[in-house]
């Protein structure tokens, strides 16, 4: 068994920094015995001389534009879950430990990733951005990997250890209660090696069963069953902003961040998404919903981003935004791009619908449609606009129909009973009587003729039999 442990010493601070667009000094604070203390401070805050353990008023005295954020354990767990979803690409045996550790069992994945060093390189290079500093330690047992990772925190690279290395480490790195560590110090036990050389049963009598269980897990004499990571059924991620954003364009970077998390999730679940929802929490505590619909399920960030950019141009913010949340519930299977070998210039259907999406995003949903036939004798109802790609063709009428139909029939003057459209028309063919439509209160009672303008255009006109008015309804292409 080979375990890898990721340790993120300042995970809470990383989360806050994801919502920051310009660098500024930040601290994450906790409250202990009614005193506000600094828990984590970022690099800019360090430059001002702020260290963890300081009180907040002291820190604010050192840096005027300091921003303090409360420690949120729930958000930290959510971030660990997202990291677990990302690590699912490498192995299914993942578990979290404590507030900021991720344990991976990778012995079964070594063959796929061509060895320990390759795997370690991939893990460090493909770690999602914004989670530095971190440390990655490989060892034979999970507790040993945890110990090494915590001991070498902020190394930002992968380190390999074996069990005998444990002996030289100080007792303070053990994952036990502080009181027990103090007891060990007072007994004169400073290194793990000294501890492990003592007889086990007397240790368990002195420190309890849990302590000795921990030591057995540390040395590998007892192993727990392999954990299995379960992916959540729905996807939800959120991002809080340090400063409220009032410009829609400045949302692009946080949106990309959330969508890349969605991409990892979709990759882990091997599915694609066609609808998802952005919820914007506004300054006045209202929530603005921004739903996104895609014509075809997609799963790659590179495909989705151009559409989001187009749609973002049309988004109007009702108030400045404090935080952004992305949620997706329904997923579909990934559609594979297939290209016909023998036909050149045939696009795959993903490209066809991406074009429709792009047009709709810029021009509006209603402006783009396909044509479809409807089984109705009334000409204005015998067609309808359909979603692109779903035009239906039915049996066409045996009489000729004009290529172009006017949006609204145009009334014609009549002279001596004959219609006039720039000049008197003479009728070529007709009448074709269409008298129908009584069932939905749109009855028509018309005689349709094909008329010609001089020697020129052929027009489709009708005479309304109820009031004897001539109308122009269509123009033939011939």
């Amino acid at each position: 068994m080979l375990w890898a442990c990721f340790h993120f010493p300042a995970l809470a601070l990383n989360l806050v920094e994801q919502g920051v667009l310009t660098p500024q000094p930040l601290v994450v604070e906790t409250t202990r015995k009614q005193r506000r203390l600094v828990r984590y401070a970022n690099a800019l805050a360090h430059q001002h001389g702020i260290v963890p353990g300081m009180t907040i008023p002291t820190a604010q005295g050192l840096a005027q534009n300091l921003n303090c954020y409360a420690y949120d354990a729930h958000k930290e767990q959510q971030a660990l879950q997202q990291l677990g979803n990302w690590a699912y690409e490498f192995t299914p045996h993942i578990r979290t430990h404590g507030p900021n550790n991720l344990l991976l069992e990778v012995s079964h994945s070594l063959k796929l990733f061509h060895g320990q060093k390759e795997l370690a390189q991939r893990l460090t290079q493909q770690l999602p951005p914004g989670f530095k500093p971190f440390s990655l330690a490989f060892a034979d047992t999970d507790m040993a990997a945890l110990l090494f990772a915590q001991a070498h925190e902020s190394s930002n690279r992968a380190l390999f250890f074996s069990l005998p290395d444990l002996h030289d480490y100080d007792v303070q790195w053990l994952d036990v209660a502080d009181a027990q560590k103090n007891l060990l110090y007072s007994m004169g036990l400073k290194t793990v090696g000294q501890l492990l050389s003592l007889p086990k049963d007397s240790l368990s009598k002195r420190f309890g069963m849990e302590f000795s269980q921990y030591l057995l897990c540390l040395t590998g004499e007892q192993t727990a069953p392999l954990p299995n990571w379960s992916l959540p059924q729905t996807f939800q991620a959120e991002l809080d902003f340090v400063l409220e954003l009032d410009n829609a364009q400045s949302l692009l970077f946080p949106i990309r961040h959330l969508l890349s998390q969605l991409e990892h999730y979709l990759y882990a679940r091997q599915s694609a998404v066609s609808t998802f929802l952005f919820s914007l929490l506004l300054r006045n505590r209202a929530i603005q919903q921004w739903p996104i619909e895609l014509a075809i399920p997609m799963h790659r960030l590179a495909d989705i981003m151009p559409l989001i950019q187009l749609k973002l141009e049309k988004l109007k913010l009702e108030a400045p935004v404090l935080s952004l949340q992305l949620s997706a519930h329904t997923f579909g299977p990934i559609s594979v791009r297939q290209q016909d070998m023998f036909q050149r210039h045939q696009p795959d259907h993903i490209t066809r619908y991406q074009l429709v999406d792009r047009l709709k995003a810029r021009l509006g949903e209603q402006q783009i449609h396909s044509l479809s036939m409807v089984a109705d004798h009334r000409p204005e109802y015998s067609w309808c606009s359909a979603t692109p790609g779903q035009g239906e063709a039915l049996q066409h009428p045996s009489e000729q129909r004009p290529f172009w139909l006017l949006y609204q029939p145009q009334k014609l003057r009549s002279k001596k009973g004959l219609p006039v459209y720039h000049e008197p028309l003479h009728l070529l063919k007709g009448p074709e009587r269409i008298e129908t439509g009584w069932w939905d209160n749109q009855p028509i009672n018309r005689d349709y003729y094909i008329a010609q303008q001089g020697h020129g255009q052929h027009l489709w006109i009708y005479r309304d039999r109820d009031n004897s008015i001539w109308f122009l309804h269509g123009i033939f292409s011939q």
Binding site: Q343, L359, I368, H369, G391, Q400, L405, H455, I475
Partner: protein, 256 residues
């Protein structure tokens, strides 16, 4: 004698020889891919026998509805058999679905884009052409500039689509980078068309193309290239006799 002929072909393929007629095609002997309009005389006047499949063809009309649709309808029908979109951008009227079906155009590949502003129209045309997912894009912009037409040409080449740019005849004198320009005249017994500008030729005089006879055809027959080569006077003049057809009347309709 026959041995000399293959030598002549070999000589003509030598890269140092340039012929005006095929200088545009470069050294490879590759004819441009074209789609026939179905009108024999027009196809002969066009270079390579039809409308080019991957560039802009500008059609200048005195008014909409003077035969330009008939000119391209059989080309549209055969292009709609590909699984690519047939796009109309800002058409003057609505394409009527039953008539499209009668012409043989596949309805599931049709796409109509409604917008009024020139910059939106040209943007939509460029997106459709460049994507490669459209076989033909027919657009009615108000007044595109030569730079915009050049961009459409580049997009059409990139996506291998035909762009039909419909413009009023008043814009004839404007210089245009479109490789093919057709001008239509007023509609009479025949469709009057002439090639103003094309690759490798000087253009053509006014051609008279036969129109489909609406008056004397009974049931609708699908237009094919064969029908259009029949001259006007040889089309059978028999009156319709199909059942279910209401009275054929050349007399005046019932009074007011």
């Amino acid at each position: 004698m026959s041995a000399a002929k293959p030598q002549l072909n070999q000589i003509l393929q030598h890269p140092a020889i340039w012929r005006a007629a095929d200088g545009m095609r470069g050294k490879q002997w590759q004819p441009l891919e074209t789609i026939a309009t179905g009108f024999h005389t027009l196809d002969q006047a066009l270079p390579d026998g039809g409308l080019p499949c991957d560039s802009v063809a500008e059609i200048l009309c005195p008014h909409w509805g003077c035969g330009e649709t008939e000119l391209v309808s059989s080309a549209l029908a055969s292009l709609s058999q590909q699984s690519r979109w047939l796009v109309w951008v800002n058409p003057p009227w609505l394409p009527y679905a039953p008539a499209l079906r009668q012409q043989g155009i596949q309805l599931e590949n049709t796409l109509i884009v409604h917008n009024k502003q020139d910059k939106d129209i040209l943007w939509a045309m460029e997106q459709c052409l460049a994507s490669g997912a459209c076989s033909v894009v027919q657009g009615w912009p108000h007044n595109p500039s030569p730079q915009q037409i050049r961009r459409l040409q580049l997009a059409a080449q990139k996506g291998h689509s035909l762009c039909l740019l419909m413009r009023p005849q008043a814009h004839m004198q404007q210089p245009s980078p479109a490789p093919l320009r057709l001008e239509l005249g007023a509609l009479q017994h025949n469709i009057q068309v002439r090639v103003v500008k094309c690759r490798g030729h000087w253009g053509s005089p006014w051609l008279r193309l036969p129109r489909h006879d609406l008056e004397h055809s009974a049931a609708f027959t699908l237009r094919t290239a064969a029908n259009k080569t029949i001259p006007q006077d040889q089309i059978p003049q028999t009156p319709p006799s199909g059942a279910g057809y209401s009275q054929h009347s050349t007399h005046s309709p019932p009074g007011t």
